[in-house]
């Protein structure tokens, strides 16, 4: 039976983890390579890096981070943030990323999604959708949530599936950072309108939120950042909890 996945996400800025876990025996809490290794040893089903480096001159640091991580972690690694072109995707894959997530560029130039999925296979192309509720619909935001594209998130999700995305990473802008739980309505609506797997993201504050994302939101995978970073829960605890609620997980 296929298991639901738990994916810890690390925000990486200038090659350093922002908001990292403070493990006692960790030599360098800001080192993404060490943090990723801890997660994969702890049973994470995949690891996600979100590069939030603002300045262009420090962009190349992420390649080095990915290279080092892929030599130590033998679970799938997804890398996103600042991906602008097919060449950027090629570079990340060559450094050892298994999947690349595309956000703003997918909205501005969907050809990057179709071209890259044709070139590298849709299995490595994840389209990240940042959505915010506006009355009875959700709109897609770009540039780290700063710009409203006005595009309907459900239509967009279907369009990205047609363009060759292998998975959709759906983040609720309303919930992100609130620890109030996923926007289940959004996740469930997108999940039922496409035939590709959905990764739920944005707003996890406790383990019941992960359960809801899968049971109610019908997500194939659940992504969380802060509950793991701050050591509130370990990946193992999260999996045991999901298991106790009858959700199939890899233990």
């Amino acid at each position: 039976m296929l298991k639901n996945r738990i994916i810890p996400c690390l925000d990486v800025k200038n090659g350093r983890v922002v908001k990292g876990i403070n493990f006692v025996d960790l030599k360098d809490a800001g080192d993404p390579v060490e943090q990723a290794k801890i997660y994969s040893d702890g049973g994470a089903d995949e690891i996600c890096f979100l590069d939030i480096t603002a300045s262009n001159e420090n962009r190349d640091i992420i390649y080095d981070v990915v290279k080092k991580t892929s030599k130590k972690c033998f679970v799938p690694l997804t890398v996103g943030g600042g991906v602008r072109s097919v060449e950027d995707i090629n570079k990340l894959l060559n450094c050892g990323a298994d999947k690349v997530s595309i956000n703003t560029t997918a909205v501005e130039n969907s050809k990057v999604v179709s071209d890259s999925s044709k070139k590298f296979g849709s299995q490595c192309i994840v389209v990240a959708i940042d959505a915010k509720k506006n009355n009875d619909k959700w709109e897609v935001f770009t540039h780290g949530g700063r710009n409203n594209s006005g595009i309907d998130a459900l239509d967009y999700a279907k369009q990205m599936e047609d363009n060759g995305a292998g998975e959709l990473l759906v983040t609720s802008m309303d919930r992100d950072g609130t620890q109030a739980g996923y926007d289940i309505d959004l996740i469930a609506k997108i999940s039922s309108s496409v035939n590709i797997p959905i990764i739920a993201s944005g707003g996890v504050g406790n383990l019941d939120h992960l359960v809801d994302g899968i049971k109610l939101g019908k997500a194939s995978a659940v992504l969380a950042a802060s509950i793991f970073h701050y050591g509130k829960y370990s990946v193992k605890e999260a999996k045991d909890y999901l298991d106790s609620k009858g959700i199939p997980v890899r233990i």
């Binding site: 039976m1 892929s70 044709k118 070139k119 590298f120 296979g121 292998g166 998975e167 797997p197 194939s220």
Partner: protein
Amino acid sequence: MKITIVDYNSGNISSVINSFKEVAQDKVNIEVTSDLNKIKSSDKVVLPGQGSFKSCVDALNKINGLSDTLNEFAIINKKPLFGICVGLQMFADIGYEETETKGLGWISGKVSKIDNQNGKFKLPHIGWNQINIVKESKIFKDIKNNSHMYFVHSYEFIPGDKNVISATTDYSSNIVCSVEKENIFGTQFHPEKSDKLGLKILENFIKI
């Protein structure tokens, strides 16, 4: 010992390289190349493959003499070869992804799209699934039945002769996920991304 990972522009193979290097340490020489002479002089060959069946077969055929060299290595000289994902699928006679495409024809059978039962099951089949080991295979030494492995695919290999099947996995239907035919091995899942158990499979292959 020398193991060659065939680099024929079949998509992203860095994870395959990293995992073999991790397992091999300094005891085994891992080459990544499409050089025909280097392949011929190898003890073992790994055939990775990502993307579509057609794109992988096309990429393989673009390199002059490569498919003949692999055929000589695996079929005539019967040296151990390991196909991963589309690398395994290419063992088939024919594949139906994008368009009908001829495979290597090493293990009779076809590669077709997984039946998602009218959208009831999501495709690609992505994530960790358990393998049912149905026959003893050298690559499954010390691997327990029902172990989890990492999958990413929308197409499945359906061999004509069921005796080659060494493991299956349950999704929308029972999917063949590992084959062994004499010296030829293949997994639909990605051992290079399946954590410690996956690395164990690679180690088993190295030790054959």
